[in-house]
């Protein structure tokens, strides 16, 4: 299977995923802040209005029965203004109606820290949404993840929170020939081993997967082989993949951009303890997280508020006691 040397940034596969699904299913439509003439605040939705028109691409928020909306938040920080609807209307309705009313909606947009946007615009919402039964929460890392997972999210009959990352929109990745097909999907709820290794399992999601791979490359020179797992989906979490890896490596480090308390890493720790992999651990699990503070603006402070590659390397070595 050949790898076509096509480099696409995350926002292009997001665009093509939406374009393909809009074409495939008439019930799909897009609700976006500042789409059309402003061309989508971060230009992810650019050109879609020109292609599909007002009926399918809209800045008007409204609920239409029998349809499959894709709702874009300019950033997930603004989703807090609508969060009651995401949780109480979207997540819980199928349950409350005992199966009568499904809610096939996708909420997508950039999540987490950007660059210099300060406290109110830098929060990671993975843990907030993943806490809630009735929601699926997806967090892609690279272009293939973005495309395949978004197509699955749009085809999914339940509400999906799709957490993109603004800093990844401009990063080019190679995309395989397979991933260029209109039917390419990646299943929700399945993690991917991005890099195999025997000494330590490193689990992450979104942008920090790249940091973990960079850390792994540095550690490989010292003879430490990391197995880097890209979660891809936060809820339902693929705990089995993590367990299988930990049973091989005996060490686990989780890496996330969000705050530590009650976060993704905390959940992974709890689940590992509750399952078969616990007895295979040679050391407590280490969580690498954002610093437990609101995001400061000044660059030097901002740089020290999020995990750096050196923090990941340090944590892995401490976990391995080397």
């Amino acid at each position: 299977m050949g790898l076509i040397e096509t480099e696409l940034t995350e926002s292009d596969p997001v665009w093509s995923a939406m374009d393909e699904e809009l074409e495939r299913d008439e019930r799909v439509f897009l609700m976006v802040e500042e789409v059309a003439q402003y061309d989508g605040a971060l230009q992810v939705s650019r050109g879609l209005w020109k292609k599909y028109g007002d009926k399918r691409i809209s800045t008007l928020p409204f609920l239409r029965a029998g349809l499959r909306p894709i709702c874009e938040f300019m950033t997930f920080n603004f989703s807090m203004q609508a969060i009651d609807q995401v949780i109480n209307s979207a997540a819980k309705t199928y349950y409350m109606s005992a199966g009568l009313q499904p809610v096939p909606i996708v909420f997508r947009g950039p999540n987490g820290a950007s660059a210099g946007v300060a406290a109110q615009h830098s929060q990671c919402f993975a843990a907030w949404y993943a806490h809630c039964p009735g929601l699926k929460v997806v967090s892609p890392w690279n272009s293939e993840d973005a495309k395949g997972l978004l197509k699955s999210a749009i085809r999914e009959d339940n509400p999906v929170v799709f957490l993109e990352n603004e800093l990844m929109y401009g990063v080019p990745f190679e995309m395989s020939e397979e991933s260029q097909s209109k039917d390419f999907t990646i299943p929700i709820g399945k993690a991917k081993v991005e890099r195999p290794g025997d000494h330590v399992t490193v689990v992450s999601h979104s942008r920090l997967v790249g940091h973990c791979l960079d850390a792994a490359a540095v550690l490989a020179k010292e003879g430490i082989e990391c197995e880097v797992i890209n979660l891809r989906t936060i809820r339902p979490m693929d705990v089995e993949s993590i367990e299988a890896s930990v049973m091989k490596t005996n060490h686990l480090v989780t890496v996330e951009g969000g705050w530590p308390q009650f976060g993704v890493g905390a959940e992974i720790c709890a689940r590992i303890m509750e399952g078969p992999a616990f007895n295979y651990l040679d050391a407590p699990v280490t969580r690498v997280t954002g610093v437990d503070i609101p995001m400061p603006y000044a660059k030097i402070l901002e740089d020290h508020s999020v995990p750096q590659i050196k923090d990941i390397i340090f944590s892995i070595k401490k976990t391995l006691n080397v």
């Binding site: 920080n77 660059k299 402070l301």
Partner: protein, 370 residues
């Protein structure tokens, strides 16, 4: 030159200079005649010109990547900030959204501290921790990043004024985009019910990011949106109109009549923020037309010159002084050091014993002081 008193006609709409300002549920509005003294004129000119030059300097620093993240500039709208400040007391309260640099200045923060905050230095008004959208001062509550969220806060500040019986009021600002937010209507309701001393002011600059008011709002009469709350609409490019309308609104609130809504028709020359060129949803001709016909600073200057209240040389001298002030502030803002790392975790809680904060991993134990 001694103090010259000048009486002039109150102007409201740009189209017909004789028309009154628009009123909603008000028997009468602000006075048709406003008095401008020479000192006042020079002061308003200085304030507006300082804001203008400060914002243009910020534009420059942003393009040099010395300012990062978000930067929403206020040039074009100076008459609003200057006029409002002239109509209230320094002990009154004010809260606005993210296009806040102008208000930060009128509420008493120096250009130096504003620019140093934009460049993220320890000499910034928020010690570099807030950035463009999060600057504060006594009686000035920011600087708020989430559209519309500041308005219920403003109503709350007005509630505090009423509760404390201190005859103060709160000016709660928002834009034409935020005017469609549900939380505004909740704030209107509570303010009206409890007769809170709150002036709700909509700075209508015709565009919410890239969406023109016609495409965003079922009703673009923002001064009427308070429904049961009286309202008035004035020319936000004329500093005297803004001042008189604000004084009128302040009297209304202070006399116990409850809240009032004010719409200022204004315009921003820059795009929504520094990442928006501002020309994909409006024409360059439109921007140029406003600049040449309705610029707030030029209008005031012309008015004062044509009535011999000041000379061309005086204005030139002021311009030179202001440029110097802004240049020195920029110098400071680019040379002041960044905040120290041990400030990273401070200011989580007020009045709290020191606490330990988790860093990026369990071995990083950081310290937080109030």
């Amino acid at each position: 030159c001694t103090l010259t008193t000048y009486i002039q006609t109150y102007l409201s709409h740009q189209e017909t200079k004789e028309s009154k300002c628009d009123l909603h549920r008000l028997e009468e509005g602000p006075p048709e005649k406003a008095e401008l003294t020479r000192d006042q004129g020079l002061q308003y000119y200085r304030t507006m010109q300082t804001i203008r030059r400060m914002e243009l300097k910020a534009d420059q620093l942003y393009k040099q990547k010395i300012i990062r993240g978000f930067c929403h500039l206020y040039d074009g709208q100076e008459a609003c900030a200057a006029g409002i400040e002239a109509g209230i007391n320094p002990t009154d309260h004010l809260i606005t959204a993210y296009r806040a640099h102008g208000y930060t200045y009128t509420r008493g923060v120096s250009v130096k501290e504003i620019l140093a905050e934009l460049t993220g230095r320890k000499g910034g008004v928020a010690k570099g921790k807030g950035g463009s959208m999060h600057m504060y001062a006594p009686c000035f509550y920011g600087g708020n990043g989430i559209v519309g969220a500041q308005v219920p806060l403003g109503a709350g500040i007005a509630l505090a004024c009423q509760y404390q019986g201190n005859n103060q009021l709160c000016v709660s600002l928002y834009g034409d985009g935020a005017a469609n937010q549900g939380q505004l209507f909740e704030a209107y309701n509570m303010a009206a019910l409890w007769k809170l001393p709150c002036i709700f002011i909509c700075e209508n600059n015709k565009y919410g990011m890239g969406t023109s008011v016609e495409r965003a709002a079922a009703s673009t009469d923002y001064y009427k949106r308070g429904d049961y709350i009286p309202g008035l609409r004035v020319d936000g490019m004329d500093v005297l109109c803004v001042r008189e309308a604000t004084k009128f609104a302040a009297d209304h609130c202070r006399s116990g009549k409850g809240p009032i809504v004010m719409e200022l028709q204004t315009y921003r020359y820059h795009g929504h923020s520094m990442s928006d060129p501002g020309v994909s949803y409006r024409t360059r001709e439109e921007i140029q037309e406003v600049r040449s016909k309705s610029d707030p600073i030029s209008m005031l200057k012309e008015r004062m010159l044509s009535h011999n209240m000041a000379s061309v040389e005086e204005f030139k001298e002021m311009d030179v002084e202001i440029r110097k002030e802004v240049e020195e502030a920029a110098q400071f803002a680019t040379s002041d050091p960044e905040p120290p790392l041990d400030d990273l975790c401070n200011h989580i809680f007020y009045n709290n014993p020191p606490l330990e904060v988790r860093g990026t991993h369990p071995w990083a134990k950081l310290k937080s002081l109030s």
